[in-house]
C-alpha cells in the first residue's frame, strides 16, 4: 500500500461561524491576514517536504474562494515541491478540468511538473465539488461528459508528438495542439480520477486509471469499488490490480489513546467547519434531479446527520482512523478487507489548527509503526481469498452517505 500525505491548506483563523452564511464562496477575504497566511503556506510546504523524508508520497488538491483550502492553484505548490522533494511521488487530485476553461494549459502545467520532477508526477482529474461551481462560473450540467472530453484532449496532447493536431469537441476547441514540453514519463504520467457514483467508477475502470474515493466510508465503499472492479473486469477481462483503487480518509496516530483522540478532534475541524449555504451546495445542474430535490427538502425525520462531526460517528463510518499505532492498523485492516482492498491510502493528516509538531508526531508514528504493517498486509493480497473474506462479512447496514462523499473532493 502506498500512502499519500495530504492537507487541504486551511486558513482556520475565522470569525464565529454564526457571523457568516457560508464558509464557501462568499466569506469576505478581509478575514484572511496575508502575514499569517505566509506562515501557514510555508508550514504546509514544510510538512509535505517532511512527508517526503519519512518515505510517504505527497498529495495536493485545490479549492476556490474558501478558507478551508487556501491553495487555489495546486500546480504552483506542486512545482515548488518538485524542487524541494527528492523521492516522493507527486499527486495532484486533482485538476478541476470541468471548470477550467483551457485543458491545454492543464496539459502544459502537468508536463512541466513531470519534467521538473524527473517523472514523479501523478495527475488527477476531478469534476470538483458543488461549491466550486460559483467560483468557476461553470455550468455543471453534463459535468461528467465535459470531464471526459477535456481528459481525452489532455491525453492526446501528452502523447501526440508529431506536430499539431486538431480538436473540436462539444465544449473545448483547440485547432493547433502541440505542447512543449511533453511529459517526462512515457507514454504519460499515471492518471487518477475521483469516483462519486457507480457509473463514474465504471468509466474510470474502462480507462485503467486509478479510481479514488473520498470519505465514502463503510456505507458506500463496496458499491463504488465493486463498480470499478466489475467495470475493469468487463472491459479488460482480468481482475483490477490493487493499485488501481485509492481511499481517502482522515488519520491521526497518537502515542496513547488520549493523545490520538485529541489529534483526531483537531482534524475533525475539516468536517465541522464546512458550513455551506444551500445555493452553493446545490447549484442547478450539478446534482441529478432526485439528489437536488433531496437537498432542497432537507433531511427527513430520523435521517442521520451526514456531517455529524463526532469522532465516534466518523470512526464507525470509516471516514476517520485514529488511535494508537495498533488501533489505527486494525481499523485500516478491517476497512481494507471490508472494501475488497485498495492499493493507495490518501491520508489527510493535517487540518484546522493542528500544528506542525502535532502533525509530525502523528506522521512519524504512522510511518514507523503503521505503514510497514500496511505494506505487509497488501503484499498478501489475493483476489480469491479476498472474495471469501468479503462474503463472510455482510454489508454494513446502509445509511446513505453518498452526499457526504460528493460534498468533498470529487
Amino acid at each position: 500500500m502506498k500512502t499519500w500525505f495530504f492537507t487541504e491548506d486551511a486558513y482556520p483563523n475565522l470569525p464565529d461561524d454564526e457571523s457568516y452564511e457560508s464558509i464557501r464562496v462568499n466569506l469576505p477575504n478581509k478575514h484572511f491576514d496575508p502575514v499569517l497566511g505566509a506562515d501557514l503556506f510555508n508550514m504546509y510546504l514544510d510538512i509535505w517536504a517532511a512527508a517526503d523524508e519519512m518515505g510517504l508520497e505527497i498529495m495536493l488538491n485545490e479549492h476556490h474562494q474558501t478558507p478551508t483550502c487556501v491553495l487555489p492553484a495546486a500546480p504552483i505548490a506542486l512545482g515548488v515541491l518538485a524542487r524541494e522533494t527528492k523521492e516522493a511521488r507527486l499527486l495532484i487530485l486533482g485538476n478541476p478540468i470541468v471548470n477550467r476553461k483551457q485543458p491545454i494549459r492543464v496539459a502544459e502545467e502537468m508536463a512541466y511538473i513531470d519534467v521538473l520532477s524527473r517523472g514523479r508526477l501523478e495527475c488527477g482529474f476531478v469534476r470538483g465539488v458543488p461549491y466550486e461551481i460559483a467560483p468557476a462560473n461553470a455550468y455543471p450540467y453534463r459535468g461528467s461528459e465535459k470531464l471526459w472530453e477535456a481528459h481525452d484532449l489532455i491525453m492526446k496532447a501528452w502523447t501526440h508528438h508529431e506536430g499539431p493536431f486538431n480538436f473540436e469537441g462539444r465544449w473545448f476547441h483547440a485547432r493547433q495542439v502541440n505542447i512543449w514540453p511533453r511529459p517526462y514519463q512515457q507514454p504519460h504520467p499515471p492518471v487518477w480520477v475521483t469516483m462519486g457514483s457507480a457509473g463514474s467508477a465504471a468509466q474510470v475502470a474502462q480507462r485503467k486509471h486509478v479510481g479514488a474515493v473520498f470519505l465514502a466510508g463503510y456505507p458506500n465503499i463496496r458499491r463504488l469499488f465493486d463498480s470499478y472492479r466489475n467495470g475493469y473486469f468487463q472491459t479488460h477481462g482480468e481482475e483490477a490490480p490493487l493499485d488501481r483503487l485509492a481511499y481517502a480518509a482522515i488519520v491521526h496516530v497518537g502515542k496513547n489513546e488520549k493523545e490520538a483522540e485529541k489529534g483526531a478532534e483537531k482534524l475533525l475541524w475539516y468536517i465541522r467547519s464546512n458550513k455551506v449555504a444551500p445555493q452553493f451546495n446545490n447549484p442547478p445542474g450539478y446534482h441529478p434531479p432526485e439528489v437536488a430535490a433531496n437537498l432542497i427538502r432537507g433531511p427527513r425525520p430520523g435521517e442521520p446527520n451526514r456531517r455529524d462531526p463526532r469522532l465516534e460517528t466518523q470512526l464507525s463510518r470509516g471516514n476517520v482512523f485514529s488511535g494508537t499505532p495498533d488501533q489505527v492498523f486494525q481499523q485500516l485492516k478491517h476497512f481494507w478487507e471490508y472494501s475488497g482492498g485498495f492499493g493507495h491510502l490518501l491520508l489527510m493528516g493535517q487540518a484546522g489548527f493542528m500544528t506542525y509538531d502535532e502533525t509530525m508526531s502523528s506522521m512519524d508514528l504512522f510511518a514507523k509503526e503503521v505503514y510497514p504493517r500496511l505494506k505487509e498486509l497488501t503484499a498478501t493480497y489475493d483476489p480469491d481469498a479476498m472474495k471469501e473474506l468479503r462474503s463472510a462479512s455482510p454489508d454494513v447496514e446502509g445509511i446513505d452517505m453518498s452526499l457526504l462523499g460528493s460534498e468533498f473532493i470529487r
Binding site: 452564511e21 449555504a277 445555493q279 434531479p289 430535490a293
Partner: protein, 219 residues
C-alpha cells in the same frame, strides 16, 4: 396560470412548456437559449401562426424578444413581462440578480411583493419537488452564461416593428423597473406599464391589474 384562463375566454391561448420544465426531458443536443429559440421558430412555423400576440415572462420574455427580433411577420403584438435578456450596465454592474447564488429566502424576498405567494418547497410532495429541482436545472442551462442575457440582443431589438407592451412589477428586484425602461428604450414601438404591489410575477400577484393592462393592449 389563472390569467391564461381569463385570456382563453377571448383568445385561443397556446402555452408551450420549454423542454426541461414540468418534468419534460432536455434534448441531448440542447446547450443554451439558442436551442430554445430555434425550437420555437420551428413550432411557430409548424402551427402556421399568423396575426398572433407573442407574450413572454422573465426568461420567456427574453425568448420572445429574440424571436421577434429575428422576424415579426407572424405576430401582431408583443408583450414582455419582467423580462431578462439584455445587459444595460457595464461589466461590474449586476443588472440581473444572481438568483443561483442567493439563499432560497433571499430569492423569495427579491421576487415577490407578498412572499406568501411564492412556491414553497416545504409544501411540495416528492414528485413536485423533483419537478421543482428539474426546472432549476433547465433554467440554469438556458441562462447560465452570459448570465440571463445575450450581449447581441440590444443591437437587434430595433428590428421589432410591432406594438410592444412591457409589463413590470413595481417591486421586482430580480430585474428592477429601471431595467424594464432600458429594454423599452431599445424597442421604438413599445411602451411600459408598472403594476404596484407586485414583484417579478405581476400576473400572479395582481392578476386583475395584469389582465386589464393586457386586454387593453391586445384590443
Amino acid at each position: 396560470m389563472p390569467f391564461a384562463d381569463r385570456l382563453a375566454e377571448r383568445y385561443e391561448v397556446i402555452q408551450p412548456v420549454h423542454p426541461g420544465f414540468a418534468g419534460t426531458p432536455i434534448p441531448e443536443h440542447f446547450d443554451n437559449i439558442q436551442d430554445l429559440i430555434f425550437l420555437y421558430l420551428d413550432l411557430i412555423d409548424e402551427l402556421n401562426l399568423e396575426n398572433t400576440i407573442l407574450a413572454g415572462f422573465s426568461m420567456g420574455g427574453w425568448l420572445a424578444a429574440e424571436i421577434a427580433a429575428i422576424n415579426t411577420k407572424r405576430f401582431s403584438k408583443l408583450v414582455l413581462v419582467d423580462s431578462v435578456g439584455i445587459k444595460p450596465g457595464g461589466p461590474f454592474d449586476r443588472d440581473i440578480a444572481d438568483v443561483f447564488a442567493i439563499s432560497p429566502n433571499e430569492h423569495t424576498r427579491i421576487s415577490w411583493h407578498d412572499s406568501s405567494k411564492a412556491p414553497d418547497p416545504r409544501n411540495m410532495n416528492d414528485e413536485e419537488l423533483q419537478i421543482f429541482a428539474s426546472d432549476r436545472i433547465a433554467h440554469g442551462l438556458y441562462t447560465w452564461e452570459p448570465y440571463m442575457h445575450n450581449p447581441k440582443l440590444q443591437y437587434r431589438l430595433h428590428r421589432i416593428d410591432i406594438p410592444t407592451l412591457l409589463i413590470w412589477g413595481e417591486g421586482d428586484q430580480v430585474v428592477k423597473p429601471s431595467y424594464g425602461e432600458a429594454f423599452r428604450d431599445l424597442i421604438s414601438s413599445s411602451r411600459m406599464v408598472v403594476i404596484p404591489d407586485a414583484g417579478h410575477s405581476p400576473h400572479v400577484e395582481q392578476p386583475e391589474a395584469f389582465i386589464n393592462h393586457f386586454l387593453e393592449f391586445a384590443f
